[in-house]
Structure formats: structure tokens, C-alpha cells
Symmetry: C2
Subunit: 528 residues, 2 copies
Amino acid sequence: MTDQRDTSDELRTDGGDVSREEASFVEYGIEDKPPLGESIFLGVQHYLTMIGATVAIPLILAGLMEMPPAETARLVGTFFVVSGVATLAQTTIGNRYPIVQGGTFALLAPAIAIILAHGGPWETTILQLQGAIIAAALIQVVLGYSGLLGKLKYYLSPVVIAPVIVLIGLSLVDVGDVTRVGQNWWLLGLTLFLIILFSQYLDQYSRYAKLFPVLLGIATAWILAGILTAAGIYTQETHVAEDGSSLGYIDTSLIAEAPLVQPIYPLQWGIPEFTLAFAIGIFAGVVASMVESIGDYYAVARISGLGAPSEKRINHGIGMEGLGNIFAGIMGTGNGSTSYGENIGAIGITGVASRYVVQIGAIVMLIVGFLGPFGALIVSIPSPIVGALYIAMFGQIAAVGLSNLKFVDLDASRNVFIIGIALFLGLALPNYFANFESPGDFQALAEGAAVIGPVLGQQVVSDTIFVIGSTTMAVGGLIAFILDNTVSGSREERGLAQWEDLSEDESEFQTVFERFRSDEPAPVDSAD
Amino acid sequence: MTDQRDTSDELRTDGGDVSREEASFVEYGIEDKPPLGESIFLGVQHYLTMIGATVAIPLILAGLMEMPPAETARLVGTFFVVSGVATLAQTTIGNRYPIVQGGTFALLAPAIAIILAHGGPWETTILQLQGAIIAAALIQVVLGYSGLLGKLKYYLSPVVIAPVIVLIGLSLVDVGDVTRVGQNWWLLGLTLFLIILFSQYLDQYSRYAKLFPVLLGIATAWILAGILTAAGIYTQETHVAEDGSSLGYIDTSLIAEAPLVQPIYPLQWGIPEFTLAFAIGIFAGVVASMVESIGDYYAVARISGLGAPSEKRINHGIGMEGLGNIFAGIMGTGNGSTSYGENIGAIGITGVASRYVVQIGAIVMLIVGFLGPFGALIVSIPSPIVGALYIAMFGQIAAVGLSNLKFVDLDASRNVFIIGIALFLGLALPNYFANFESPGDFQALAEGAAVIGPVLGQQVVSDTIFVIGSTTMAVGGLIAFILDNTVSGSREERGLAQWEDLSEDESEFQTVFERFRSDEPAPVDSAD
């Protein structure tokens, strides 16, 4: 460890290739392929970290649309299938990073706005959501594959990316699974304690503790909750929250009654419908998710010991996320597909950055999506266990964001000012927008604003402001981006010069077309 | 700038005295004495940054205790007087850092609990608050001057201090002055824009812009609000919030009607009364404020270009804060006295770290406290202007906290894990406790907890948990402290070794007794 630091210091003085030092805790690099059996468990663990969001989003949507239970289970399965397919596509013909793709909270806010605005039965509402997502995602595909988005890279210094990643990590500090009044702190505390115990204390004594802290923590807590349920201590009356979330009660009847295979196929709810205002609202969410995803790319590159992403890799990543959104729209999740910060957190804890492992996990997810009982099993993870997962995962992401600051001159007043104001407003503005029950309430207030009321009051304008203003990383990212590119500061102060040295060469990432065209094997992504 | 960085890199390689590089933006060092005229304006500016808290705390207390208006004005004045005296004491015979001392939000939560629990008229409630504060502060004085607290220093690495300072900075992301529904974004935006304009864009062209961005920003916005009030555009009906906060309306009648001199003296409300349970609640707040203050010391040392504080300096700082709390208890603020992060933010923006300037500001504050119209003028600063101040100031503090990470090995998994979980829980747990209207509501829930309910339900226990759990920096600090001192990691990884090299020598800080005893002039605190 000490040796490695010395080397990196030397390299830094030489302006050399620092990124190529793999972070000290990478256990399996991006190109490594652990044995299949181990890979299945590792892959499942990667997916378990994002289970909270992947189950929460469809449950929220279904609840608001008043979908019946059987269709809700199918919607959850659809999320799993889309996640599996999108992850396989992204890891093979997209940016090839070991990032799980899945449903996104960034599209949830505009989706809720659409559901409230539309007001129809769920059978037509979901078609509206699908149409809006497909339309917005078409623009994303163009932005990505045309190469426009990659150009942004030259204006995105660590001064911008660091607060964006920190804010991704801190975006869930108010999520119900952590902060609900009746939270079961015993179960949440136990799960968190076990994850910390395995990953931080026992990791030196046991390879299993080091590789599977999350899986071991969740499984132990889950089994305990099952035993307490069987013993009649956790009951439907005492350990289920008012909103239906389990606080420890494991509802085995859901698993027993689920159909073995559930039908999930494209256009399963009908032909998507298109409304312009809805598409604009969703596009605001897509913008937020793109900023978040670019942050994720930098984070996963940094935590996997790779150089910062090249322009081409960003383009192909975002372009593929656009295709993932279109696929989600066609399948009918009522949501989109984006990169998941949660599994980046898992890489930080376990040191497993293997793309192969993520792909194996995606295949498992794809299969599980069709299997009713497996899906029900996953859905049965109680809220306190999910809450503990969030704490461990999202904290990691925040800290990984901070680690980008090592490229920034923190003695320069401009940097301290910009990072500080981006972090503060990134958290404060969404708190302001949380005052409003719906985007409509905000519109009503915006109409009355002095001077610019008539413009602000337009639904398209107020919805866009509402969606972006409610998204921590979008607020912080935009503020940091504008200030960092207008307040005077040298490329060295901003860390842009250092990052350019560290960025992988454009040749290091080959698109799928280039790889097919070339006779030689593609160069590996990891430089080690 | 570049030269300075090169030097520091060289020093770092040598394990040398890096801290002695002054941050690039220090305009006036700690020992510098700007001309008196300039110092008055600079000192007032330092104090204006903390005006929000200094006015908010007494207004909240007075509101809850149902104090009549005249006594409320006197309470506000008492806060100013205590702040002035405590600052003069801290900067001369305390830790001698240029930190403003003033009322603390950490004691507000237990104070609210006491007000609700006591339920008597304000005349007796305030005496209970005074007694509890004096008793709790006595322990703080012992902890400080006995030297016990300074020993903590050897267990406080940058891995602990960085998240504590970041969380101090982010503690106000949900403050009403920023996130209230009816906020006047025009006035808030203008004030923030002006502060950014002066400090980040015009600072290169004008020395006044660089030195007085906050004063210029506030004064301009305030005058504009005054004009709009005079023109009848901002009225009592349209621009005063339901809780009485001004959203732009400047109430000149308050200034005109205020008595020229208001009487403020020790024991002005009577003889303090003592109740054990109340003192324990307040002591929990004092613990939180001590963690915060130690973080402040590191922050102010770092931003002023000084070495990390010595054991002795920490002891004398905390001991003096205890004396400040006792003084506050005797004068009767119903609150205590602690170090203010806000003016550390101001140092970051203006580069003015002069102790002399802070002392001049303290004298102004002391006088203003007795002058009714001046106090009324200060109280008249509308909420949106205060909100803009918070955004600029607290963002700075968060970013200064982050800059401590340059001493930490961010490639070590343990550090990333600890910092991440401390930040996440530091924000999430207070969000959980915000669910409860009062500490009593939490007690009612805690009583019902499985197994440990009978212990948790004790008012002393539940109040203590409530107060500490509601304080971002206390939660994050405790979690980071425990993990950092139990998860294995070398002193180099943790940054302790680097910090020890950077710490000022014990001889560099002389207590007031030592300075009197010595015939020679005291060595200067700044090493330049």
C-alpha cells in the first residue's frame, strides 16, 4: 500500500499516468473472470444491492396507477427483464463498464406528474408513459451516438464531477426505507452491523467475508426475519407499515401463490401513445439521468482502477442508455433504464469490478424476471434490510465522489467556493421542491411569481424546473458546471490538465463496430 | 500560486511542514491588523454572516416561551452582548483563533424539549434554561481545562474531522430561510448573485469586491428591498411569511420605535433554577457543540493557513467555550455560546483571517446589543437575504471540510467506507428524528421498542438520543470516530501521521498564564 502511494506520488510529479494504479482494493479487475459458481453468487450480490430501487419504482408507479396485484407482479418482473437485457447490452456493445442498468428515480418524478395529469385508468396511463419515454429517449440516442455528449467532457472537470457523484450518494438520505417513523431499527441495525462486520473487520480473516459481505448480511438478516415471522413474533399486524412495506414480516404466501412463469413481452400493455408535454417532462428526467450517468462512469472507472472515460466511451454509454430507455418503453416498465450507482458502491466494498460477474448477474436477473416465485422472494426483502443496504451502498458512492478531489487544487478559493455552493444547493433546492405535493402545486405558485410568472407558469416550464430542481445531482451538476466554466481558473487548478493525462486513449475503447472490423483481438480496457 | 504548490509538494515528499503554506487566498493573516476603518467594515461583515442564527435562535425561543415583544428585543440584544464578550474572551485568553462565538443550534433542540416539558410561564422557563446551561457548562469547563479533551486529538484523524466539517456545512440544507414554500427567490437570487459576482468575478478587478462581497451583497439587496417597501411593492400583506419572517418587507417602524438603549445585565430575569433531567438534556447538546467546535478549529486553522491545532489550544478553546456557556447562562440567553462556522466561511470567501478584525467586530456587536434601533435594523434583514448568506457561507464550510481529505489515502477501502457511511448517516438520521414533533413523541415510540424499550423509554435516555441523533455533525462524527478507531488501518492511511507532522508545536500556543509569566513577547501563532 505504502509502496503504491509512493509510486503514484512519483508519477504525479512527472505528470504521468496515475490512473493506472489500480485502487488498492480491487479484488477482481474489469477483465477478470472468477469461477462460474463464485461468479453467480457475486453477480447476484451485485443485483441485490439495487433491489431496493428496482422493486420500489414499479411498486410506487403501480400504486399511483392503481394497478391490480397480478399486473403489479408482472410490472416488477418487467423491470428485472429490462434491467437484465440493458445490462448485457451495455457491458457488451455499450460502454463495457461493469455497471448494472436498471430503472431510475430521475424518471419517477415526471412519471408521477404524468400519472396525476392524465388521470385515466392504468391501462391507458402506462401507454402514455411508454410513449413519452420512447420519444425522449430518441433524443438521448442522437445526443450519444452523434458524439455531441462526449464533447462535454472537455468542460467537465473534477470540480464538477466530484459534487455530482457526492450528490448521487447523498440523494437517498431521506428515503423511506431509512427514515420512516416506524422503522425496525433492530433489523436495519443488524443488517448494517453484519455488512460492516464482514467487509471491514472479518475481511482480513476470511475471503468469503471480503467477497460476500452484502449477500451474507442480507441473507442472515432475511433468514432471521423469516424465523421471527414463523415464530409469530413478526406478524402482518405488527411488522407491516401503513404503505404496505414489510418492517420484518416475510409474507411467504406471496411466494407460494405466485405463478411459476409470468408472461412478459414487448408491447404487453398495448401500443404506446404520445403526448408532447409528457415527453418534455420525461426529457427533463432524461437530462438528469445523463448527468448522473456520466458521473457514474467516472466513479466506476476510478473505483475499478481505470483511466477516466474517453469521449467515445461516454458517447457509446449514453447512446446505449438511450436504447435501453427505448427498450424499457417498448416493454412497458413505465420507467427508463440508466446506470446504477448502487453496484458501484458494491465494487467499493467487495473489490469485485469484473464485467463478467455483472453479466452473469444480469442473466440471473433476466431469468428471475420470468419466474413468479423468485420475483416474489426478492420482493419479500423487508424495508429495514433494504434501508441498511442503502446506507452502506450510497455512502460508498459519496465517498468515491470525494476521492475525485485529489486531482483538484483545494487551496484555490474558486474551487472551494464552487464545490461548496454546488453541494449545498444540490441538497437544499430539492428540499425546497419537496414542499410541493405535485408539480401542479409548484406550477400554481410559479404562476404568481413577479415579472416572470407568465413564463414560469407554463406547465412545460414549471414541470421542467420541478423535475430538474428535485434532482440533487442535476442541481449540483448544473451549478458547478456553469460556475466552473465561467469563474477564472487555470486548467491545472481545475484538475482538467491532470485528468487529461489520466484519461484513457480514444483507441483504448473500441466500439462494437470497430471490434468486429478489426482482425486483432480488442485491447483490454484495464491497463494492468 | 503554482510556485506555492510546487513548494508544498516538495515539502510533502520530505514529510515536512506543509501546513505552513498559507492557503492561496489569505488576504489578511491571523496576526495582521488592517487599518481601523477597514477593520470595522470587515468586522461587521464577519458578524453579518452569522446574523441569521443569532437572530433566529432567540426568536424561536421567545416564540415558544410566549415572551412579549419588548422582552424579545431584549433577548436578541442579550445574544449580541454575550456573543461580543465571548468572542473577545476566546480571541484573547482562549484559543486565540479568529472565530466568532455565538448562540448555538445544538442547544436549541434540548431547550425546546425543556420548554415543552416545563410548560410554565416564560419568567420561570428561562430560569430553568439558564440553570441547565450553567450546570452542563461546568462539566465542559472541567473537560477543557483538565486537558481531557485535548487527548482526543490523537484519535481524531482527518477521516473523522473531514465528515464532521462537511456535515456542519450541510446541516442547514433544510433551513426555512432557504427552503420555505413562499420564499422570495428574486431577492434571494439577487443577493446570492451579487455575492458570487463580487467574490468570484469582480475580485480580480476591485479590491473592494474581493474584501467586501458579503457586505456589498447584503447592503445592495437590503437597500433594494427598502426601496421596494417604500414604493409599496413589498407590503406587510404580501411580503411577510405566516411565521412573521420578512420576505422582503422592511419594517422601519420597528427601528423607529425601539428604545435608544435597552437594559441588559447579569441575572436580568432572576436567579437561575436547576433541574437534573434538564441539565442532562442540555449536556447532550453541549457534547454535540464540542464535536462541532473541534471541527471548527481544524477548519479555521486550515483556511487561515495555520498548522492543525495543538492539544493545548483545543483544551483552552473548549474550556473557554464552557466559560462562554456559563456567561450566557448568567446573562440569560436561554442558549449557550459556541464557535461559529459561518465566519469561517467568510474567511474562505474574503481571505480575511485577521483576529483583530474579529475583535473589532465583537466590540461593535457588544455596543449594538445595547442599542435598540441598531438591533432592530439587524433584525430587519429579510429572510431571503439571510438564506442567500447561508448558501454562500455553509457551502464554503462543507468544501473546507473536504479539503482535509488531501491528507487521507482515498485509495484505501476502509477510508472510503468510513467517510461514506458517516456522511450518509450524518444526514439520514437527523431526517429520521425530524419525523417527531417533539422529543416526547420520540420517547413514546422508544418505550415500545423490543427488548430495550424500558431503557430507551427513560426520558433522560430518549432525550439524549434525540438531541444527538438530530445533530448531523454529532451523528457523523461519532460513527466515523468509532469506525476509524476500530477498523484496522495504518496511521499513514488514516492521515494521522501526516497531520502530526503538520500540527503546530505545543509551544506555539501559549495560554494566557504563560504569556503573562513570560518576559519575552509571545510567539506569533502564524508561522509566516
